[in-house]
Symmetry: C2
Subunit: 190 residues, 2 copies
């Protein structure tokens, strides 16, 4: 079965391809000739994943899955959420995003937050969605060098390290994206 | 805005209608002349919700949301999940379903489980999904008379009552369906 992973991120693509069962021929957006970035204009994380998967179905008539990820901070009404990558502007500037988040959160005692990855899957016979959630807290100062985005200020529940202080493997085992991906892979393996 | 709630359950319909902002004209399946039960043939809870919302869009060209709920038991590989209502057969017999679940779980120490409600929302401008999750444990013997389904054996985390020992209001405040519904209502109110 041909299946498109609606991403332009080569590392993500290779990582997922290696985990999928052999009967699935995974194609990237580049493989199907889609060069543009699919606009992420939805108002929710789930909506962006659906929007991207639907875009591939409508324009290429292919089975597809797409993901979107965001950080939801409880005291900030689940912001930045779908706007996580562009919280401080349109430039995907992690350091500005982190600065803005720490500033907005400084008067709150409740620093609980969660990372969420939504994966929308469109198959001919069925559409579905998988959510991976990782609960944790926003720490007050940046710690660690690994990862990207908000990783230096997010400490998952039950750990005393931020995501940025963990190895990629540790983060993948307990993290939101790994949880959602494993659900997708289980589903496709059946 | 006209919006269909894809349910034949009058109680659920009335309850949700009362919570929605006034600019939304909520219609039931009966209101739009859909008398059949939409088949719930998907392999996931999320998939069934999407399938029902898509059915209304495809057949009636209307904005719609649809829900589906299931119980996921960790030690049983998240069964009964999408098959919760027909776990012991096709008859939606709660007492047989509970009996089968208790039997299948009797050799496990880990009795953790979660109720999940998925709500798929299709609007003209955006599709999205809301998930409400309530973590808990499966108790060994039935307790309480309220509610329905697995409520007499499901005790939510942090409480010493099963759902069937709670009032409808208590259950709605901490339960999976209430959590998902409040997300939908927040979204529609914006």
């Amino acid at each position: 079965m041909k299946l498109v992973f609606a991403t332009h991120n080569t590392n993500k693509f290779i990582e997922v391809k290696a985990m999928l069962p052999k009967h699935i021929e995974l194609l990237s957006l580049t493989d199907i000739g889609c060069k543009e970035d699919i606009p992420e204009t939805a108002k929710t994380i789930e909506g962006n994943a659906i929007l991207k998967a639907n875009y591939v179905r409508e324009n290429y008539n292919l089975n597809c899955f797409a993901d979107d990820t965001g950080l939801e901070v409880k005291a900030l009404n689940n912001e930045p959420g779908v706007y996580s990558a562009r919280y401080a502007g349109n430039s995907n500037d992690s350091s500005a995003n982190i600065k803005k988040l720490l500033k907005n959160l400084e008067d709150f005692n409740d620093r609980s937050a969660r990372f969420k990855t939504a994966i929308a899957l469109n198959l001919e016979q069925e559409d579905t969605m998988f959510l991976g959630i990782c609960e944790g807290v926003i720490v007050k100062e940046l710690r660690g060098e690994s990862g990207f985005g908000y990783d230096p200020i997010f400490q998952p529940a039950g750990f005393n390290k931020t995501f940025a202080e963990m190895t990629l493997q540790q983060k993948s085992e307990i993290g939101h994206r790994g949880k959602a991906m494993r659900q997708l892979i289980d589903y496709l393996s059946k």
